[in-house]
Every structure is written in structure tokens, then in C-alpha cells.
Symmetry: C2
Amino acid sequence: MSEKSQAGRKKSVAKKPLLQKENSVPESVLSARVRNSKPREISGESKRDKLEADILQHAVKMFAECGYEGTSIASIAEQVGVSKQNLLYYFASKQILYQRVLDDVLDAWLDRMNSLADETQEPVDLLRSYIQAKLRFSREQPWGSRVYAMEVIGGAKIYGEDIRKKVIPLLRKDIATFEKWIKQGKIAVVNPTHLLFAIWAMTQSYADFSTQMTLVLNRKKLSGKDFDEAEKLIVEMVLAAVSIKT
Amino acid sequence: MSEKSQAGRKKSVAKKPLLQKENSVPESVLSARVRNSKPREISGESKRDKLEADILQHAVKMFAECGYEGTSIASIAEQVGVSKQNLLYYFASKQILYQRVLDDVLDAWLDRMNSLADETQEPVDLLRSYIQAKLRFSREQPWGSRVYAMEVIGGAKIYGEDIRKKVIPLLRKDIATFEKWIKQGKIAVVNPTHLLFAIWAMTQSYADFSTQMTLVLNRKKLSGKDFDEAEKLIVEMVLAAVSIKT
DNA sequence: GTCTATACCCAGATAGAC
DNA sequence: GTCTATCTGGGTATAGAC
């Protein structure tokens, strides 16, 4: 009862007619922009789009650093340079902003992972590409990784349904691919589920636990060399696990 | 500036003369108990100890589920069955309670890991024991793991100094052990730092990401069998990485 | 779309009686 | 040690003028 009241106490979801999703799909309904009859520059983004992107960019960093409850919309607004009332004009509530942040994270993520569904590639190349892609994501979008990680660790109270719908099927598909390889004798007999968990854990940790890693390594941030060495070891371990000699 | 004010804005640390640490070291100053002249049962814990333990037990779960800012001391108090004012009598502030929770987590952790510093053991046995111990911790104290993980992911704003002092030296020592083995030719030439990161990531994830794992596996919680299979794969991968045939 | 003002609630923490 | 009462601040969100 008290746990319930901790999170998800918002009942109002979307009251204002705002776009909540349209980053990678420019052909989606352009309600607000269509209403705007004033001629605008064609190539550039509209002001609304630019501000939305700005807000999202700062929001993902702050949610990653302070968590959902630990981040106030006022502090995000301050970073962006707008009033918090104005921010609430673009994103009707904190929870909507948060969900949009996670939506964008997953979109970027799944985009990168989808390209690996190529059935024609051999296990060695596919595994290597997979690990590289996930490591690159940890490197280039660490904040997104961290927001996602914190949401999952806390039990995915807000975003759980989306994870179930968007992430889990993808993981299951990856596992099925491993199983197919095993059946075909292309890789050794290993537990495909736990192999995937291992790959995810190792790659993800270079975003989530980079604070601890930099302390161990005694440097300010992880370098390209660190990621290269990480990739080398992880690929080695995974290929060794599936008994593929390089 | 606004980020700073997000966390760690507490200036008052410990105003009341309360014990803040005495779980594993019973010979520490017994200020409150000594003042209490009434004869008490010798074997059992004092009421204060019992209540403190109760509070900590519930606190670690709630911090794990909702994060630091997301957890109110009122909700913890409610779970324990005391008033929040009373809780504040035992732990002078939320931050002190939080730090104590993390202290206890690390104590239990380091306890388990210290026993592995046995120099007489061979790499195979030591690595296997290490992985087993960390996996057992993930299984038996998932909340502690998660609180720690969230703290690290968020940049360790509150507990960073303790991590630097308590955890990092231990990790460095483990890395040094790996390096020694490599020099002695006992294991293959691998990057010892990233090998340790990999072991930590894989074992830790069975606490931190168990929500996602149970969704993939389609069950309510991870079973003993899951942990056995995880152990088997992780040990295999690590031993393969250091080129030890079993 | 942006502003001022404000409603409303809940949090952490303290004071002081018992 | 536990209670009632309260202070103080911050948070999300809304109303309404411009």
C-alpha cells in the first residue's frame, strides 16, 4: 500500500494535445506543426522540436544521475534554460517526460540491435557485431543505459509494461538464434539464455558501472582504449564459451 | 549548481549520541546500553539492537526498490511498525540510515570475499570459489546488491568516498593476484582488470537485473537451478578465458 | 507559448510533553 | 523511548493573464 503510493501515483496521463513520440519517424502525425500555419524554414527543425530535443537531452542525463524521484523537473528546466512551467507545456507531466526518455533510449537501442538479425552471417561475425554494438551503445549513450538500468533494478514500476512488450521479445529471439546454432552444430552446447545474460551484463556494465571502473583504473573517464580492450576480452570469452577458435 | 543541490544537501550529520555502527564489532563503545542500568536478558539482543536491525532490514529493501530519494523514512517506519519520529530517534537522518545500510552491505560482501585471499589455492579453485561467492551474494542479498548498484550508477554521490576506501583497494588486490598468476604462467595472458570487471558484471547482474531475467524466463523469481546454470556458464567462460581446461 | 501566481501535498527534521 | 504537534522547504501541477 505504501509501496504503491511511492511510485505511479499519477493518474492523469496526457491531457494536452502534445506530440509524445516522433524522433525517428518523421512521417508521424504532425498535429501541432500542422496547426501552425505560419511559414517556417523547411530544412531545420521547428522551435518546438528543437526545444523538445533539448529537454530530452538534458533529462536523460539528470534521470541517470539522480533517478526518477531524485530529479526535479525544475532542475531539468534550469539546465535547459526554460521555466519549469514552460517545460510542463511541452511534457505534460514528469512521468510522461520520463517515459519518453526511455522510449527514445529503447528506440536507439533496438535500432542498433535489429541490424544484427541478419540470418546470413556466421555465428562468429554476428556475435562479434552484437558485442561491438552493445559496447558502442554503452560508450556513446551511457546515460540512456543508466536510466534503463535503474528502472530495471528498481523493479520497473513505471516502464515494466514497455519492457515486456519491446525488450523481452527481442531477447527471446536472440536466445532462439543461439538455440538454432546449437541444433545446427555451429556452436557448442551452452545454455543460450545465460549466455545472453552474460553478454548483456558485461557490455552494459561499461555504462552502468563506469564510475567504479574509472576509480579502479584511476582515470577521469573510460577511454577508447579501455573499450577496445573490453571488447577484445568479451569477444574472446564468448567465443571460447561457444568453442569457436579464432 | 542545481545538480549539487540535488543530492548531499544535508549538512547536519550526527547530532544525537547514537551508535551508528556496531554490527560485526560487539566490543565497540556501548554508550546507550551502558547508560541503561536496568538488568536485561544476557543472551538476547537489547530492544534497541532488535529495532535497529528491523529498521535496517526493511530499509535495504525499500532503498533497493525505490532508490534513495524515492524512499521516504515514513514508508520505512510504516513497514517496521514504528512512527517516523521514532525511527529518527534511532537513525538521526535519512542519509545516516542510508549510509549504514550500505556499510552493512559492504561488510557482508567483503566478509565473503576476504576468505578468497587464500594464497595457497590454485587459480582454478580460487576463481570458482570467487564466482560462487559473488553469485551467492546476489542470490541471498539481492537488495543489498541493488542498493549498491543504484548508488554506483548514479555516480556514488553519497557513498563514493567509502567505495574509494573500501571497495577499490580490494578490487586492485584481486587484479594484482591475476597479474601474479600471469607472470607465473599459471593462467593465460589476459587483461586482468577487464577480466575482473567481467566477473563482477556477470555475477552482479543476477541480483540487479533479475527483474528482466524473470521476464525472459517467464517465472516469478530466479530458482536455485537458474543460479546453478549461471554458475556453470560463468565458470566455464572465465576458465576458458584464462585457458584452463577442466 | 511564455509568464506570474498559487494551490496543494508530502518530505525531512525538530521541539517538548509524558 | 515514544508520543503529539509543528516548522520549513520543496515538489508537481494548474489557472489565468499577456
